[in-house]
Symmetry: C2
Subunit: 211 residues, 2 copies
Amino acid sequence: MTSAAGPRPDDGGARTAPARRPGGRSALVRARVLDAVRAQLLEHGYDELTVDAVAARAGVHRTTVYRRWRDVGGLLADVLDAAGGDDWRPRDTGSLEGDLTALNREVHQALTERPSITAALIAASFRSAEAAEALRRFWDDRYARCEAVVDRAVRRGEIPAATDARRLLVAATAPLYHHLVLLRTPPDPGLPGHAARAAALAASAGAFAEP
Amino acid sequence: MTSAAGPRPDDGGARTAPARRPGGRSALVRARVLDAVRAQLLEHGYDELTVDAVAARAGVHRTTVYRRWRDVGGLLADVLDAAGGDDWRPRDTGSLEGDLTALNREVHQALTERPSITAALIAASFRSAEAAEALRRFWDDRYARCEAVVDRAVRRGEIPAATDARRLLVAATAPLYHHLVLLRTPPDPGLPGHAARAAALAASAGAFAEP
């Protein structure tokens, strides 16, 4: 499963079906290199994430890596772009609060699992402008997909039609990132549901439907 | 002004009144060293933040710095502890939404000013466990002070008496950190008020008064 907060391992299907299309070998190299980036980042952190270490780990010639990804920023950006290339969709539970809780549980899981590639990529985004930009793109795409949750709630009449989907979605998920990434409070299994419920109540009260 | 999101320059009064108390010289050294840490971090980033660079910049002997602060983590932690040693209190505007908006404006200002020592310390917290722990302490103290905002709202009858102050305060402020630190969206002058209003509406609806 690739989550909402995402960046999970993702090989784009390359390893399971390398021969199905032209570019199969290129896709295979990409999968091995991106696997190596994730493993190196998780095991040794950003400080030991170098093109040479990734090439050695992937068993790929270093000039291949330099030519295709240029540097560590390019490698991290491609890990995030690959993670965004999946078909993840938010769950449909039948209610706004249920959908937001399901979403928050995925975010919570991605941020608290050990090791967490999501947490490692967030940390890396403070070192590499290219990773920061790729993370921004990744989340932007995830929040765009989650707008379906808000559309459904509007159609069910749970919240006003003029609700700003992005503001509602950020309000629902932000407390998880704040607690787990910045405040570094111990994980609280009640947090996904609490934050979802607060955002759903605010949305029902019209908090996200105003100018 | 030292803000809610805080970590602003703070000399503990040492430079303006060095002779008033015993330890004046020690306080003066501390103020100079912590000023140097902040300036070095803002100008050159964490990678060039070394004990030697700080000592040189502060005009203090390096063994003094090593003895008192040990390493970069110790220096960053003391910057945060010094910032938390002020008398900051949240504004009293007469309404929950007004108080939360005022608080969020301070957070917004601290995160968007250029250069932002707050943003630099957050970034450093991903490099130094000691800085991360000191930042956690700093925010914990700030949120504790902000509980006065929630107490006042309960006394005015705006929100239920059983409201969990911390959950409400995190819900109000988290969207700012999420947008400005992680999502890296362009600053939006409407954000402080929007996030405050959503949290106040959720609180009125009892979202933070449940088990």
